[in-house]
Subunit: 450 residues, 2 copies
C-alpha cells in the first residue's frame, strides 16, 4: 500500500458528514453497496478485474488514528460522540468479489460490500480509486498483449504514470494481464515482477561518439546488453551495433539486442533487421518503443514488422485513449430493503447480486447473467465469491502469479470478436427474470414515495 | 511523499545498469540534465509549474537502504564494488528550477540538475513522474478556473484519480491553480487545503423517501447542508429542498445549497434557480457536478447558467483530454561539454540554460527567450533560480498559499488568447542568439563524430 499514514482519511468529506448524520439519526443498519462499471469506453468490450488485494488490505486495517481524529475535531463539523464512535470503528462487514484476473462486463458487480452503513459508506472512495485504476490498466495492458500476437511486451511507463502509487499499480496490473516485465525496479522488489531495461539516449550523448558509448556499456554487461541505436541516426547506430557485436563475438560474448525508440518504427525495424541478418547476426533481437500502444502493435503484427518485443510506456500507463472508467459504488440494499437510484443515465440494479457465467461447449465463454445473490443457474458458474466475513478475510487471495494464470486462461476462452482492438462486439450480458422483477418492483415503490 | 519505503528504487532498471557502466568505466564527471515539455497537447497554450517540492524532498533524502541493496544484489546484474558505491551514494548536486505556480511554455527548461552523472541520471524517473503529474493537473485545473469566470471550483476527483499519490497531488495541484477546496480529507490534513462536501445518492436512497433523508441530514448539519436533489427527479427534489429549507428557517437555521449531479445540467440549473427564487430563497446556492470539465464550464459561463460553484471530478483529476505531457529530462552537458540528441522529432537544446521573461508595459507578459545560463537579457526576468547546492536546499521553498498567489498573479498577466479553452494562440518563445549558435556548433560536431 503506497501511503505514509492516515489512510482512512483518503475519503471524500461527504462520507464523513453522511456518517455523522447516520450516527445521529440512529440509522446504523446493514447496507450493501455494489461496485460496477456503467459503460464501455471507446474500443472496449470487456474489463479485467484488478485491485482487490489492496481493497482487502485496506478494509482489514481500517481505523482512525489520533492524528486523523484530531484533524477531524479541528474542522468544527463533527460532534464529540461521533468522533468517539469513529475512534472505535473497524470494518466488520462481509465482501463478495470477483477474483483478480477474471473478466467482467458492463453493469456486472465486481465487489459487493455488506456492513453497517457507516462502514460500507466511508470506504467507497478508496475502493473505487483502487479498482478503477488497476482494472483500467489491466484492461489496457491485455489489449497490448492481444495486439502483439505473441511478442513480449514490457512496461516502461513509470516516468509518466500519475504518481508513485500508479507507477507501482501499473507494473502489477500489466504483469497480471500478461506483460513480461517492467522497468520499475521497486515493483520488482515488491511484487516479484521480472525487471528489464536497456540504455537511455543520455548514455550515448554523454560519450564522445556512439560507438564509444556502446563499447563502454557492453564492457559492463557482456551478456546482457541491449543497445539504443536511435540517438543520432538509427541506421548508422545499427552499423555501430554490428561492429560492437562482432567485437563481442571475438571475446566469446553475445550482443543481446538493440532498441529503436523514434522515427518510422516499422520501416526502421525492417532496415535494422536486414543489417543484422546480412551480418549473420540473426539472433540479435530488436525491441521497439516510443509512444507505442495496442493500435501500433496490432498494425505491426498485421504487417509482420520484425520486432521481437516491445516496451510500452505512457499510453499504456495512463490508458491514454480511455483514462477513466464510468465506475460506481452504489447502495443496492439497506436494512434488508432493496434500493436503487433513478438519476438520468445512472439507474442502478437493486439487491445483493451474483454474476453467472455460461460456457458454450468445452471452453468458449457464451454469456453472463446478472442475478440475485440467492439464485442458482443450471450449468453456470457463479463468479462472485465471499472473501471477507466479520471484517476478516475468509480465504487467502491468489498470488499475483496465480492471478496472471487466471487471466491468461479465461482470456483465451473469450470469443475473438469481443477482444477486437477496434469496435469490439459486445459480449452478451442478461439480467435474470428475478432481478428484472425486483427492479420493476423497487422502481414502482420509489416513484410512488418520492 | 506517498510511499512506504525503498523510494530510490522508483526508477527504471536502465538507470542503474547505466550507472554501473559509468562507474566501471570511470565516467563520473558532472552532467547537467534539463527537464522540459516538447509539445503542447490539444488546446493547451501554456503550462503551470508544479511538483518541485516533492522533487526537492526526494533529492534531499536520496539513499539506498539495506532492503534495496539486497534486492539489487539478488538480481545478479551488479558488481559488488558498484553496490558498495551505491550504498554510500547521496545526491550532491545543484538544482535550478522554476518556482511552483509559475507559467512555462514548450521547450523551456523547468528544472536543470547538475551532479556527477550517476546521481543526475538515477533520479530522472522520479523527477519526470512528479513534475509531469503535478504540472499536468495544475494546468488542467487552471483551465477550469479560467472557464468558470469567477465561480468557485472544487476538486471531487479522489475516487477516479490514478491511485493514492495522484489523489493527494491532484488536490494540491488544483488548489495551487486556484481551486477553492477539495473533497479529499487527507489532503486537507496534509496540505491545509479547505475541504468541502455535500451528500451522496446513497444517503437519499437509504431512506424511505427523499424528504426524510433531507430532514435527517439537516438535523446533523443545521447550518452547513447542501442537499443532493437528483437521486430520483431533480425538480421534485428541488421542491423537497424548498420544503426542508422552510422548516429550517422556522428553526432559525439556513439551507446552504443544493447540488445537481446528472441530467441536462444547464436546463435543470435554470429551473431549480426559479423554484428557489419563487420560494424567496435567493441565497440558496446551486452546485453543479457530474462529469464536468472546462469545456462545460465555459459553455455555462457564456450562457449565464445560474450555478454558484462547481465540483469537478474525473475529467480534471485525470486530465482526461490530455492525460500526459511529452515531457523529457535530457542530458545537455557532460564534463563541461554541451551535448544534444538528434532522434527524429526529439532534438534537444544543449548546455545549461536560463529562461528570460519579458513584460510589455506595466504588466502583460510579452515573450520568453531561452538562453544560456550565463546570459543576461536587458529588462527580462531570469526565471530559473538555484534552489539546491551540494545536495542541500539553498532557500526555503514558498508555501502552498504563496505558490497559489504566484500563479494567480502571473496568470492574470498572460494575454487572453494564450488562455483560450480551445485553440489558444501560442505565446512567443525564442531562442537566444548564443543558444542558437551553440546548438548549430554541437550538431555539427555530433554529425561529424557519429
Amino acid at each position: 500500500m503506497e501511503t505514509d499514514g492516515q489512510l482512512n482519511l483518503l475519503t471524500d468529506l461527504y462520507q464523513l458528514t453522511m456518517a455523522q448524520a447516520y450516527f445521529q439519526n440512529a440509522r446504523m443498519e446493514p447496507a450493501t453497496f455494489s461496485l460496477f462499471i456503467r459503460a464501455y469506453p471507446p474500443n472496449r468490450g470487456y474489463f479485467v478485474s484488478a485491485g482487490l488485494k489492496d481493497v482487502v488490505e485496506f478494509l482489514e486495517g481500517f481505523s482512525f488514528d489520533a492524528i486523523s481524529l484530531d484533524y477531524l475535531h479541528s474542522l468544527g463539523l463533527f460532534a464529540d460522540d461521533f468522533l468517539d464512535f469513529l475512534k472505535g470503528l473497524r470494518f466488520s462487514g462481509e465482501v463478495w468479489a470477483l477474483p483478480e484476473g477474471r473478466l467482467f462486463f458492463k453493469d456486472e458487480p465486481v465487489i459487493e460490500v455488506t456492513a453497517p452503513i457507516v462502514e460500507a459508506q466511508i470506504v467507497e472512495t478508496f475502493i473505487i480509486n483502487q479498482i478503477n485504476l488497476q482494472s483500467l490498466i489491466a484492461t489496457k495492458a491485455s489489449r497490448c498483449i492481444h495486439a502483439a500476437r505473441g511478442r513480449a511486451v514490457v512496461d516502461f511507463s513509470l516516468r509518466r504514470t500519475h504518481g508513485i502509487d500508479a507507477g507501482m499499480k501499473v507494473a502489477r496490473s500489466s504483469y497480471l494481464a500478461g506483460f513480461a516485465g517492467t522497468s520499475n525496479v521497486r515493483a520488482g522488489l515488491r511484487h516479484g515482477i521480472p525487471i528489464v531495461g536497456t540504455m537511455a539516449h543520455s548514455f550515448v550523448s554523454s560519450h564522445e561518439s556512439e560507438i564509444a558509448a556502446f563499447r563502454n556499456f557492453v564492457k559492463s554487461f557482456p551478456n546482457n546488453s541491449t543497445l539504443l541505436i536511435d540517438t543520432y541516426d538509427t541506421i548508422a547506430g545499427a552499423h555501430n551495433a554490428v561492429t560492437v557485436g562482432r567485437e563481442m563475438a571475438t571475446r566469446g560474448e553475445r550482443l543481446q539486442g538493440v532498441r529503436i525508440d523514434s522515427g518510422d518504427l516499422a520501416a526502421l525495424a525492417r532496415q535494422v533487421r536486414q543489417i543484422f541478418d546480412a551480418a549473420d547476426m540473426m539472433d540479435v533481437k530488436i525491441i521497439g518503443s516510443g509512444g507505442l500502444d495496442e493500435f501500433d502493435l496490432a498494425e505491426f503484427a498485421a504487417a509482420d514488422v520484425p520486432y521481437d518485443s516491445y516496451g510500452v510506456g505512457t499510453k499504456m500507463g495512463v490508458s491514454a485513449d480511455a483514462p477513466w472508467f464510468d465506475i460506481a459504488y452504489k447502495l443496492v440494499e439497506y436494512a434488508g430493503r432493496p434500493v436503487l437510484k433513478l438519476s438520468t443515465g445512472k439507474v442502478s440494479l437493486p439487491g445483493k447480486k451474483q454474476v453467472f457465467r455460461l460456457t458454450a461447449g468445452e471452453r468458449q465463454l457464451q454469456k453472463d447473467i446478472i442475478g440475485l445473490r440467492g439464485e442458482s443457474i443450471e450449468g453456470a458458474e457463479p463468479l462472485l465469491r465471499q472473501i471477507m466475513q466479520d471484517g476478516g478475510i475468509t480465504r487467502p487471495l491468489p498470488t499475483l502469479a496465480a492471478c496472471r494464470e487466471i487471466f491468461r486462461e479465461e482470456f483465451s476462452r473469450l470469443p475473438s470478436p469481443a477482444k477486437a482492438i477496434r469496435d469490439p462486439v459486445f459480449y452478451p450480458v442478461e439480467l435474470s427474470a428475478r432481478l428484472l422483477e425486483l427492479r420493476q418492483e423497487v422502481e414502482r415503490q420509489v416513484r410512488a414515495s418520492s
